[in-house]
Amino acid sequence: MALFAAGLSHKNAPVELREQLAADEDKVREILRDLVGGGALREAVMLSTCNRVEVYGVAEVPGEARAAAFRHLCRQRGVDAAAVEAVLYIHAEDDAIRHAFRVAASLDSMMVGEPQILGQVKDAFALAQACEAVGPSLHTLFTQAFAVAKRVRSETEVARHAVSVSFAAVELARKIFAQLAGRAVLLVGAGKMSELAARHLVEQGAFPIYVVNRTWSRAQELARALAGTAVPFEELGTALGAVDIVITSTGAPKPIVTREMVARVVRGRGTRPLFFIDIAVPRDVEAGVERLGDVYRYDIDDLKSVVDANIRERLREAQRAEAIVEREVAKFRARLSDVEIIPTIVSLRERLEEIRAGEVRKTLARLPDASAETRAAIEALSAGIVNKILHTPITKLRESSRAGAHRSWLAVVNELFGLRRRG
């Protein structure tokens, strides 16, 4: 049995090629049926996302099967096999295990730690299961991959810090305010990013939302979209006194929130901080307002540098995650070989028990006068012999399995005792 992972990803394959190879559910079903039903592979899972197209498989023997599987895929999708061959990676055994763990844990993603990939892997696994393409090996592999992904998420901060400007702004708000629920937000001007940030704040319970815009109809429109209230542009100064978070993104050539305006409202705010998120270029909030008491001001450059720092942080955390994956791969290798030898051990026991029980029956049939004690003694004797004989081979099998050299042993045992192959 040979485990492998073959495919191509955003790392080295151009998007045109990924597009051509990517398959929808129906196509994946068809491909899995061909691969497993046709006997090329014993088990297979196919993962197809916009960033990667991969086949995880178990072949009878290592080698040719995995490249063949991918060539089949190319033919299926009408893609030039040579072009794929150039960027195709094939991982075998431990490397395949590692790859599955890294992909599921989002360490191989374009943005390390992005959350979608785990769901995509889960879907791919479920689809393969529905097609009956999953056997014990891939089942163990994928359930473990999900566990590893969960561990990485909870033990490292690889997915924790905001990597978009709007999320970074929300994260900052959460470091200033004890909670966002019930915080009033003022949106000045309209823009994709500012609207997105406002939406994130609303999701966290921020309320109420006020919208100011030079164009009254635009203000009303946006207020409706965010379930907020439109406020006339002239009342901007007053509105500042009533809110906790201000998001600005107008096209004004000069700051529209001046130091003077903020100074006027700051005194009446008591202990409540005021947080300006200025996404506009040129800036809408005059620099220096942050020196007025509990006022905090972040402009677009500040937010971008926060995002950059967070990305660096994710990459640092990714190194810790890699160490976790490495440990899990080692643990998993031992488990996987157990999965492979256990059926053989079970059939071996069953086979000998069958023989023993048969022989005991025959003997006892010839001894009708035997006392209960004699019968018990014969049973015990035969069972003892079987156990003694089995002891060494089973120990040997387990040892060789831990050492990773169990495959030839398995074949020998199966052959010698005439066992049926399982799993």
Partner: protein
């Protein structure tokens, strides 16, 4: 105090401090668990040490100022563990344990001197106990203030530093320092008044110079001013945090004076 148990406690506290500071910088969950474990071991050893001492002397282990400080440390560590568990702020240890270690070492190097001559009056125990609870609250007040200033600085610098993600929000920290101040102040006040009343009955005068009494009055004035500023003057945030630090510095000087200068509180 049983010397071995006390040493175990101090060593464990020192380990916990090192681990807690490492956790602050490195953010390894394992390091945090070890820090928590080390804190717990120290606290258990400390508890046993106090029990042994109480049995030996046959009364609450508050007979000398050094013992009393040791009890403060015990209360602070207990509170730190409870608050950390409840609030999930895993970095609290990094700010509390250094103070714990400092106070423990201070208490352990002071020459054991008894407050004995006037002890025996039940009021004196209440005086000591109230002052201790007050001091314990101010240790947490100080830790909150340090965390506030660090977090405020990081947010204003616009560069998320190493602690940014770990520290609680500014508002939470500000509430924290307010609440610990509001909790500690009445205890400290009552403790001081009892001390003064008792001093009059024992020595006939409230105003005989005693270094500990003098510095604790200074600390009290600082805290009283901060509390008044907060309650009536709208003080909060950085200003309140600076005063929390100044007040705590006065308290540390107070205890140092009590432990190392001659006076009515021992030494």
């Amino acid at each position: 105090m049983h010397p071995h148990l006390q040493s175990i406690a101090i060593v464990a506290y020192v380990c916990a401090m090192g681990l807690a500071l490492t956790h602050l910088v490195q953010r390894q969950p394992l390091v945090h668990r070890l820090a928590a474990l080390s804190t717990l071991i120290g606290w258990v050893a400390h508890t046993l040490a106090l029990i042994v001492l109480a049995i030996e002397v046959g009364r609450p282990p508050l007979g000398t100022l050094a013992n009393a400080v040791s009890v403060v440390v015990w209360v602070v560590v207990l509170l730190e563990m409870l608050v950390e568990r409840q609030s999930g702020v895993t970095v609290l240890g990094a700010f509390v344990m250094p103070v714990v270690v400092m106070l423990s070492l201070k208490a352990s190097v002071a020459r054991p001197a008894s407050l004995a001559p006037a002890l025996g009056n039940a009021w004196i125990w209440i005086h000591i106990a109230l002052a201790l609870v007050g001091i314990a609250a101010f240790v947490l007040n100080f830790a909150g203030a340090i965390m506030y200033l660090l977090q405020d600085r990081q947010i204003r610098a616009k560069r998320p530093g190493r602690f940014y993600h770990r520290l609680p929000p500014l508002e939470t920290l500000d509430h924290w320092t307010y609440r610990t101040l509001a909790l500690g102040f009445p205890f400290l006040t009552t403790g001081l008044i009892l001390g003064a009343v008792w001093a009059r009955t024992a020595w006939g005068s409230v105003f005989t110079f005693d270094p500990l009494a003098f510095f604790s009055l200074v600390a009290w004035i600082i805290y009283a001013g901060t509390l008044a500023g907060r309650a009536a003057g709208g003080w909060h945030g950085r200003r309140a945090a600076y005063f929390a630090i100044i007040g705590f510095a006065a308290l540390v000087v107070t205890l140092g004076a009590g432990l190392f200068l001659p006076g009515r509180h021992g030494a």
